[in-house]
Symmetry: C2
Subunit: 428 residues, 2 copies
C-alpha cells in the first residue's frame, strides 16, 4: 500500500463532522478505491469542547486554522469554515504557500478570490478543488470540468439554492404567502444567519459565477452577476404562473453572448413540465449545455451533512488518486477577464401590476409597452374586490433594455398603483 | 507545452467520426484544458474509401485494427468498432499488451470481458476507460467512480436504452400498439441490426452490469442480470398504468441484498410524477443512490454522434491530464465475484390477464394469489365487448418467488384466457 494521504480539517460543523465520520467508517473502502489510505492528521474548530458525535481523540488539535494549514503532517488542507475573508482566506493561502493541496466547500471565498487563489496554487504546483461549493452532493464541477471537457459549453443553468426552492414550492403547494413560508424556513433552520444570502440570491450567485468561469474559460466575475432575490414574489404570481403552465424558480443562467458573458440569478418562469419546473423542495438541479453533449441535467440534494461531505470526499479521493488539474479546468493565468454582456439576451417576460379601475388605464400601460418596442402576447385581468385591478401580461420576446425602459415609465402613467414586477420566462 | 497525447482510432462510424471532428475543431481548447495537445496518429475502419464528411488525410491508415493498436506512434487506442468478440477484443488486448491505454464505447465487450481486460490492463500498468459505453453523453461512470467515491452505494437504477423509452412513450402519446411503434423506430433507424439488443433489454443489461460492478465492488456479471424485454407490453398496459398514476419503463436496477447482488433489467411501473416517470423519448436517466449522497439523478442523451463522442473525449482528456485509475474504480484483482441474489427484493406487482366471463372466474384467480401468499391491493375489471374480461390487479408487496408460483398456477385455473403479465412496481 502506498503512503497515506493526510488531511487537516478546519471547521467541524455539519460538513466537517460528516467528513470525519466517512473517513472513520470507510477506511478500507476508501483505501481500496484510492490505492492508498486516507487519514486525518489534525483538526481545528472554534470550540474544542463541543460534543460532535464523532471521536476526535486520534487527531491533533489546532486552535488556529492557519497553524493547521502549515503542519508538516498535513498533505491536504480541507477548508470547511466558510466566510469569504478573514481566517478562511488566510488559512487557504497559508496552506498553498506551505505546499498543501486544498479542498474547500467555500463558495463565497472562491466567488470573491477564486482567481487569485488559483493563480497562487498554480505557482506553487498545488491544486484547489471545490466540488462541495456548488450544488451540494451533485458532482457538477466534475461533470463540467472533466466529463464535458470535449465541449464548448453554450449555457449553464441551475436551481442552486435549496432554501429558495423550498420557499417557492411550499408557497405553491400550501397556498401560503411569502412571509409565512419564510418564517417557516427560518424556524426549520433552513436559512443562513444572513437570510439575504439565500433569498437575495447571493449564495446561488456565488455558485453560478464558479460554473461560469469553468464553462467559458473566464476569470470568476461574481460582481457582474445580475442578481434579484425572491422577496417580491407573491402567492398570486405563483398561482398565475401555474395557470399559464409555468413555475417560478430562482434560476441561475450563464451564457456567452455576442456582447460578452451573461450571468443572471433571478426569479424566472420555466415550463411546469420541464425538469427544472418539476423540481420540488430543497433539491438542486444543474443543466449543462454543450455543443456536442446537447443537454445534461443533474439533480440531487443541495445541502446537508451526508451530501456535502460526499462532495468533499470526491475531491479528497481525486487528490488521493493523483488527479491534478487547475482549479477552473485550465491554467488560471490563461483565463480571460470576463466581459459582461450588455443588456443580455432577449426573452419573453411576465409582468404583474395593479391598475386603478378607471377607463383607459390598461390602454396607457399597453401604449407605454408599445412605445418601448414591447408587444403583448397574453394579457389577463383578474376579477377583483378592491379598488385596484390586478393585471398580468406576458410579452413577446423583449430586450432587457426595452423592458427596463417600459418598467421605469410605469409609475409616471398615473394608473399603476403598485411597484410592478417583471420576471423573465426562460426557455429551458 | 508538454508532449501530445496521440490517439489511434479504430472504427469511423458516427462516434468515431464525431471524435475526429472534435479533435480537429477544438485543438486549442483541448490543449489548454489538458495541458498538452491531443492528436490523432492513425485511424482504421472497414471501408477506406467511404465519405465521412471529415478529412482523414493527416492520419496514417491501417486496414487492421490490431496493427493500429500496436503502432509506435499511438498512446491511446480508441476502440469504437463494437462487437463483444472478434476484432474488438483482439485489438483491445493487443493494445494493452503493447502498452497502450484504451478508451472504448463498447458495452458488449466490457459486459462479457470487462473483468479479464481490467486484469490485463492493470498487470500492464495501463488504463481502460469506458464512459461512452453507458448512457451516452451522461458522465455517469465518472460520477459513480469518482464523484461518489466517498459512498457505499445502495442502489443504482436507470433507463439506459433510448429506443425502448422512445417506443414506450410514443405508444402512450400516440395511442399506438407496440408493433406499429416498433416499425416506426425501425424505419427511423433507431434499432440495432439485431433488435433484441434493444427491445430484449440486452444492450441496457450490458450497461447495468458495468454500473453494478463499480457500485458494489464486484466482478462484472452480465450473465446474472434478470432480463425481460418490452415486447409483451400492450397499449392497454400503458393506459391502465397511467390511470393508476404510473408509467412503464424498461428499468435497470442493481442493489446489494442480504442474499447477494440483485441485477434486473425489466419493464417496471414507476410513479408518473417521479423523474424516471417523466422521462420522455430517447433520453436516458441514471439514478445513483449512496449512503451519504442520498440520491443523484443524471439525465441526458443516450446516443448520437455528439453526445457519445463527448463521452469518449471526456475519457481521452482524463488520460491526457494524467488521471489514472483501475477500470472499475478499484483494483480488479480485489473485486469479489458477484453472488447473485436469490429471489430478489419484494415489491408490489401489476398483473394483467383476461378471464372468461363466467361466475367464479375472478374468485379462482384471487384464491390462487392468496394460496401463493400474495394479497391484492387494487383490482379493476374493465368493460369489455368480447368474450373475455380484462382484469388488472395491483398486489401488495410480494416476494418474486411467490409471484412466480402464482403466475405459474394461472393457466391451470381454466379461467385465464391469455398469457398473464406481471410487472414490478419499483419504488423510485
Amino acid at each position: 500500500m502506498n503512503d497515506p494521504l493526510r488531511l487537516g480539517i478546519a471547521g467541524l460543523g455539519t460538513v466537517g463532522t460528516g467528513v470525519v465520520r466517512i473517513i472513520r467508517q470507510k477506511a478500507d473502502l476508501l483505501a481500496r478505491r484510492a490505492g492508498r489510505p486516507v487519514t486525518i492528521s489534525a483538526v481545528s474548530a472554534r470550540s474544542r469542547g463541543k460534543e460532535r458525535g464523532v471521536p476526535l481523540g486520534d487527531y491533533a488539535w489546532e486552535d488556529d486554522p492557519v497553524a493547521l494549514a502549515r503542519r508538516e503532517d498535513v498533505d491536504v488542507f480541507v477548508e470547511l469554515m466558510g466566510g469569504h475573508d478573514g481566517t478562511a482566506k488566510e488559512a487557504t493561502e497559508a496552506a498553498i504557500a506551505a505546499g498543501k493541496d486544498v479542498v474547500t466547500a467555500n463558495k463565497a471565498l472562491l466567488a470573491h478570490h477564486g482567481h487569485a487563489l488559483a493563480l497562487e496554487a498554480e505557482a506553487a504546483g498545488r491544486v484547489i478543488r471545490f466540488e462541495a461549493a456548488v450544488a451540494g452532493g451533485i458532482p457538477v464541477i466534475k461533470a463540467l470540468t472533466e466529463g464535458l471537457a470535449g465541449n464548448d459549453m453554450t449555457r449553464v443553468m441551475g436551481v442552486m439554492n435549496g432554501t429558495c426552492n423550498y420557499i417557492l414550492t411550499r408557497m405553491q403547494s400550501a397556498g401560503l404567502p411569502y412571509e409565512e413560508v419564510f418564517q417557516e424556513a427560518s424556524d426549520l433552520g433552513y436559512l443562513e444567519a444572513d437570510p439575504q444570502l439565500d433569498v437575495g440570491g447571493i449564495d446561488a450567485a456565488h455558485k453560478l459565477s464558479l460554473l461560469a468561469s469553468i464553462a467559458f474559460g473566464t476569470q470568476v466575475d461574481f460582481g457582474s452577476v445580475q442578481m434579484e432575490g425572491i422577496g417580491a414574489i407573491t402567492i398570486e404570481d405563483i398561482t398565475h404562473a401555474a395557470d399559464m403552465g409555468y413555475r417560478i424558480k430562482l434560476l441561475g443562467v450563464a451564457q456567452m453572448t455576442g456582447s460578452g458573458l451573461e450571468q443572471r440569478m433571478t426569479p424566472c418562469l420555466v415550463p411546469a413540465t420541464s425538469p427544472l419546473g418539476q423540481l420540488e423542495g430543497g433539491t438542486n438541479m444543474v443543466v449543462l449545455e454543450g455543443d456536442n453533449v446537447e443537454q445534461i441535467v443533474l439533480r440531487g440534494p443541495g445541502a446537508g451533512m451526508g451530501p456535502t461531505a460526499s462532495a468533499v470526499m470526491g475531491d479528497v479521493m481525486d487528490i488521493a488518486r493523483g488527479f491534478r488539474m487547475p482549479a477552473f479546468g485550465q491554467p488560471a493565468a490563461g483565463l480571460k477577464q470576463a466581459q459582461p454582456a450588455e443588456g443580455g439576451t432577449a426573452a419573453p417576460y411576465y409582468l404583474r401590476m395593479s391598475l386603478t379601475d378607471k377607463p383607459g388605464a390598461l390602454a396607457k400601460v399597453a401604449t407605454a409597452l408599445g412605445d418601448a418596442g414591447i408587444s403583448i402576447n397574453r394579457l389577463r385581468q383578474y376579477d377583483h374586490s378592491g379598488p385596484d385591478a390586478p393585471v398580468l401580461i406576458v410579452t413577446h420576446k423583449a430586450a432587457r433594455g426595452d423592458l427596463d425602459r417600459a418598467m421605469a415609465a410605469m409609475p409616471g402613467l398615473g394608473v399603476v398603483t403598485n411597484l410592478p414586477i417583471a420576471l423573465r420566462i426562460e426557455s429551458v
